[in-house]
Symmetry: C2
Subunit: 408 residues, 2 copies
């Protein structure tokens, strides 16, 4: 289970150095929710005036903490706020006990931190269907409140992991009118990854000033181009949640600022790709770019069909430039495609053009590219101007080992 | 590649004894299309008056032989007919060469067998994207025509295999007004199985009398409850084809006969389950029954979401009664479901009821059931009367070995 797997070969060399974000502090603890010998709860406290936005799983069986967060977004922001996350137990499919645990935790956090209960956001991640031992969390809240630190974000990234083989963080600095604002994000996620909104658990903090509605729009739009464009196994979690908090402590308004928007996009892309790099059993990161579709939404359907195909993903694991399976994946969704117009490249090697193998194609060239850790597949449908780029990983024995041998 | 894999542990004990169907004869040959040392082409000849119906892949990248068959269905049946099938090469995504090969083969079969070219139906199965060496087939047609036999259907079932670990056949005898009619079917299929119509390659023969339009309706309806309810890996082939030929040689009209319809359903269910039993790497056959959905189509969406989920399939491989992953799979499609009404059983063990674990559930009971080769999962959504039953297999290291290590 957690932390016992070997680190993904696609992991970044090290956890990045994350700067302090004014207005937010962190603490973590080993509460023994399910795991022993590791931290499993993190509490982030946010100053008065912090705007909080979020995107969440669209699963119809989503967990109680997700429903609770969704109900609280957009409320009054003239008070402090708190985010509490536990790993080890998702508090999902726990019947009425689900909301009971959420209410108990939120009430206790509100008391311990002197924050209104409607400004307490919680997430739970881990096993589905088992009751959450919320008392183990509640009995540690006083300690969590008393040990808050501005620079414990790396500890927070570690505390929220489940089957992750490494903690995920990213940071950007943006200059706005000669003033500096920080954006820092952490994420967890490794399996059950085919988000249909945000994904897994992601927390992003900035000291920039945002109104909540503007922040919400920015987060939704950017998620759609980052976290919503990744897949590990086509399975969608019941708990996916992304929260972004803008403390405003810098006094710098970043609303509609193009540099901030671009920096946030890069940060979210970085975190989403870190999730794919930690895909269960992954040995290859695969970027799939679809062009020439009748529109962008069709491009995305085809790109995700390729990214989710077990036969494409096993071919990549086998370092086999098996473009026939890509043709199969394009065909299966039923979205518009013309077999005889399709062109497919691996990296800069064009393997197929106008519906058949390129006469100049030398398989050894593509086979050499397939040995790399990062693979680029480009498919042109030759029908229009629609494009999409998505990210996935290969499907290996490691995925089977993790998911057939452990209860996650 | 073909025939080198160990036989599936779920395989029937032996190939069934198939009766002769009056009006159809078979021959097979080792033409060396791609494989060596095994038969890879079969030719079936059908008498004058044979009605032929079919269902085919809906893939937008479907292969030239599929398009050719679809164009020929419903034509004049007052002549003899022929079905030619090769394994080893799917003649799919071969550009204009695809139709060139089909035309060459159909013309040559028409000549060799004295059959109109519009009554020659062909299928090709195997590797995608490589040109079909149709000359190797054509040069064997005279031999195939001269060695026809009424009882070579088992040889035909062997000749059409690719990654199959065993040949698939089934037969039913129906008594109609004191007279006997035979139905005999053969199939191939093992991976790239998520048919959206028929599946893989299936050929069914009967000596009953049918008008073509009635036969087509019967075949379409029955496919929808059998082959369209199975999945191995959610990937849909570019070549899936099912042809049914009613020779009429018995002189017994079976149109609208309930016993014939029931027998055909059983035969097609048997063949479709044989395909799942030969699912690449399969060690468990899983029957998923969904009840209580708002309608049948929603029941099917949920049942297929469960059947296609890599996390559900790996849990089954691990003999883990992980009902949390079933809840996840129900949630991900977005089709109507109410988390707190869901009930889940493995075999006769109810593990969850009304959105949470059954208070009387003892995991050891479900764990014991999971050790069986055939697993039944029943999910009730508690919302209506819609039902569906689908079949799948587990996802194991064997699937990865077959698909990451071989070009198929």
């Amino acid at each position: 289970m957690a932390n016992t797997m070997q680190k993904s070969p696609l992991a970044p060399a090290c956890f990045p150095k994350l700067p302090i974000v004014d207005g937010v502090t962190f603490a973590t603890i080993a509460a023994g929710v399910r795991y022993s010998g590791r931290t499993d709860v993190m509490l982030a406290k946010l100053i008065t005036g912090t705007s909080i936005a979020g995107v969440f799983t669209k699963s119809t069986t989503r967990a109680a903490p997700v429903l609770d967060c969704q109900a609280k977004l957009g409320g009054d922001s003239t008070t402090p706020a708190a985010i509490l996350v536990n790993s080890g137990n998702a508090n999902a499919f726990t019947g009425k006990n689900g909301q009971t645990s959420v209410t108990a935790i939120c009430d206790a956090v509100a008391d311990a931190c002197d924050v209104p209960v409607n400004r307490v956001f919680t997430s739970s991640t881990g096993v589905i269907g088992e009751p959450l031992a919320h008392d183990r969390i509640i009995e540690n809240l006083e300690t969590l409140n008393n040990t808050q630190s501005v620079d414990d974000v790396e500890a927070a990234a570690n505390a929220i992991m489940t089957t992750d083989t490494y903690a995920k963080g990213s940071a950007k600095n943006v200059q706005i009118d000669g003033q500096s604002v920080q954006i820092v994000g952490i994420a967890k996620g490794s399996g059950m990854i085919a988000p249909d909104m945000a994904t897994m658990l992601v927390y992003i903090f900035t000291d920039a000033v945002f109104e909540q509605t503007a922040l919400q729009q920015l987060v939704s739009d950017t998620s759609d181009r980052t976290f919503n464009c990744i897949t590990v196994d086509s399975d969608t979690s019941t708990s996916d949640s992304l929260l972004m908090a803008a403390t405003g402590a810098s006094g710098v308004n970043a609303q509609d600022n193009v540099d901030f928007t671009a920096a946030l996009h890069k940060l979210m892309l970085d975190l989403s790709q870190q999730v794919v790099r930690d895909g269960e059993g992954a040995t290859k990161l695969v970027e799939i770019t679809l062009t020439g579709a009748v529109d962008d939404s069709v491009a995305r359907i085809h790109a995700m069909a390729i990214a989710n195909s077990p036969l494409v993903k096993t071919a990549i694991a086998g370092e086999d430039p098996n473009w026939g399976r890509i043709v199969m994946a394009i065909g299966k969704s039923g979205a518009p495609a013309d077999r005889d117009l399709i062109s497919i490249s691996f990296g800069d090697v064009n393997v197929a053009t106008e519906g058949w193998v390129n006469p100049n194609y030398v398989e050894a060239d593509a086979a050499a590219l397939m040995k790399k850790q990062e693979i680029e597949i480009t498919v042109d449908l030759g029908m229009g101007t629609g494009t999409a780029t998505v990210w996935t990983c290969d499907l290996t024995h490691g995925y089977i080992e993790i998911n057939a041998d452990y209860r996650s």
